[in-house]
Amino acid sequence: MPEMNIVGKSVLRPDAFDKVTGGKGFPVNVRLPGMLHGKLLRSPYPHARILRVDTSKAERLPGVKAVLTPSEAPKNKFHPVFFSPSVAASMVHDMLILSDRVRFAGEPVAAVAAITPEIAEEALELIHVDYERLPAVFDPEAAMKPGAPQIHEHAPNNIAMHPVFAFGDLEKGFEEADYVFENTYQTQRVHTCYMEPRVCVVDSDARGNLTVWSSTQHLFGLREKLASALGIPVSKVKVVRPPYIGGGFGGKLDISFLEPISALLSLKTHRPVRIEHTRYEDFITTARHPVKVFLKTGVKKDGTFTARYAKSILDTGAHATHGAVVLMVHGMYGFLLPYRCPNSKWEGYTVYTNNMIGGGFRGYGAPQAAFAVESQIDEICDQLHLDPIEFRLKNAHGEGQQHPFDPGFKLDTYRFADCLKQGAAQIGWSNRHSKGSGNGTKKRGIGLACQPLWVSGCVGFPDIYEHSGAILKLNVDGAVDLSMATIDIGCGQTTVLSQIVAEELGVPLEAVRMTYADTETVPFDAPTHASRVTYSAGNAAKAAAGQEKKRVLEIASSMLKTTPDNLETGDGRVYVKGAPDKGLSIADVVKQAESPYVRMVPDGMQRSSLQEKGTVMGVASLAPASNPSPATAEFVEVEVDTETGEVKVLRVVYAHDIGKVINPAGAEGQVEGGFQQGMGYALMENLVFDQESGACLAGDFLSYKMPTAMEMPPEIKSVFIESHEPTGPFGAKSLSEPCAIVPAPAIANAIYNAIGVRIRELPITPEKILAALGKL
């Protein structure tokens, strides 16, 4: 590899200056002249038919400009998930913008647009709704039983999806096993806790064209799903790319009720309408699905898998939305693919209940699977006295092998073994005590968990968009405008994509600026999800920069009277290869390209070459070549207070193979944040609902406990084992999700090592620990 100047360096984020001085670019700041404020009236009941909505009093309130009821909303059923086509057969189409039947406490019934948020709020109280209450069910297993309340007509026993995947001969595999382990694991509902609330502003014109600003993870998905919900062509909707949004983590990967309702209110009033969620509304809008996983695993004495069976029951809440795909990813990438086993079967159930709707959340089904799989491996190793590292290596895929998901791909780079070995060395794995052996009331333990096979993007996965695009334009002062639909949700997409462009084009990082984009001006990009942007969008940015560089070299070769292959770029200049002083600045090349063909000079008119003229651009739209997997291993040390049940995480070591690391400081930051989300999941977070009324009991940050700086360990250490992924931009793969997937099982395994007690239900609260120790 030639030496790189920008890729591989911990550069300062281009968006940081703006963010420390106020952060003007957040969608929550968008205000338009004449803008109205919308509010949603939400059902207090978890399951009810709406008999009558009387809006007359609300409409008479001064300042109210429109009230929207179910009878006025379009009647076409849609699915709201961004990354799949509106028509995808794998998605369940069960949503209406406003329905005459509500299926969870908080489902919108009507909406108001008024000149202030306070008036809109007051108007909600003046709307009278007659409900016919229906029996509700909150437990997915109860919902599957005969006689349970039916939530959707199309889903007998409330089963929205029941996928089954199998290969080999499961029965034979269990016969061949020396030992068979059967365990059940349960995860809870947790929220993404993005800090910027979901918000949108929708403007309309007299012909019904819509312009949308929104805190979203996908520009084109928002366009497509909003159009689908409203039953209008996609070209009627323009979505403007925010410079950045205040976090997403998967929680902004769909339209909710606020976008289509804002659109309908705008069309009705001919004014822009803004709806911003309260934090309570955010909490009941998207969450990681609770999943109950039953595992039955057959192993040989030496730890080789002979048979693996899993059954997963996922609570999707009132509508299927993400629940269908989360379940598939959970089964495939969470259970079937990470380890080799000739005889495997997985079956899953996406089950309707009268709980809130689940959504996307970093890991997308894998955290629920990893908690089960990685906990059970620890249990197997403990009982058979096998080393958990050797056990995993024995059953894992190896570098150079075929990708188990798609025969078209190979695991070109996959340093899983190195991740385990280096992580183990850093934490001091070989000094690990036997379980529960510490003295005193505070006991320490070390645990490990992996995410052996994950994705850099979704190539090969059914019904998921993957291609990316970029437009680059050079300015006469050498600045480069980079336009992409890619949304920066905080992970540093702007930084990494700018680095890739600067490196490829041969300009300083400061010369590149991510600029304006909307759905009418830039090529499609798939969402910022699935750990895909660095790899997939990075490839598109690199291709566009390569094309732009080619054009720079063509023009420069004409100016320097040489051939393009004799030239190179670097640090904002074009020069003869090996002779950096013989050349000119890229800005001069652009000036030549942008200047008039004929110039007046003192001696008369001077003609230049027509071939040198035209704006210097690069454009690319492409699908990535593969789906290369990062590799991840995590080791944690905990201290468990056996008197109080409290768990403190003392040390954390991650080892990752993410290919070439484009921005090391950014990558570390991702991992540190991933641990916080995983630790919250493991130990404290729980979006609790009342089992009678269906009301959310943890709808603010005072009752929903996510880790503050006080609970976090003093240091989270990241080891990056660099490989060079041949299909990635400058050898890069992606990073985001595995580091948030593995903490729960790593912590559960460390707790077991500390006190010899296995907790199979998240979150692992002090109460559960004390109960398991027989102290409650």
Binding site: R13, F26, I245, G246, R279, G673, Q677, T708, M710
Partner: protein
Amino acid sequence: MKQIIHLDINGEAHDIAVEPYHTLLQVLRDELGLIGAKKGCDTGGCGCCTVLVNGKAVYSCMVFAMTAQGKAITTVEGLADGATLDPVQQAFIEAGAVQCGYCTCGMIMSAKAYLSSNGSHLPGDLEMRQAIAGNLCRCTGYQKIVDAIRLAASRRVETLAKG
């Protein structure tokens, strides 16, 4: 009924018509366009709206604007001198403490309040974490935020030592 109140914000006097129920956060954002303070929860739970009132870090969503009269209010917009950033802002950039950025301004204000009252003492890890315990961040795991506060503190101590 709206009333005219006088607020001292970033050393500038403002006369603003507010409703009795308007919070300081609403007035800053909606009336004055000072959007550095963010609404993350509006219930005193996240810290995104943190500003300084008489040098102390407070949640501006928990303060009625009327009660802020006669007090010196500092928002993040009051820290930088043109393009020259406050040392805390600079440290947040350099330490990689900024990711999505939504909590950032509130974090900076809490860090600022803490460092300003901290004299010439070099803070320990626990103290720095306590200083931002009322500010939630979901991106960073707080590690690089603590690094940023440490960096700003060490520069401050160095500057004070030089006199």
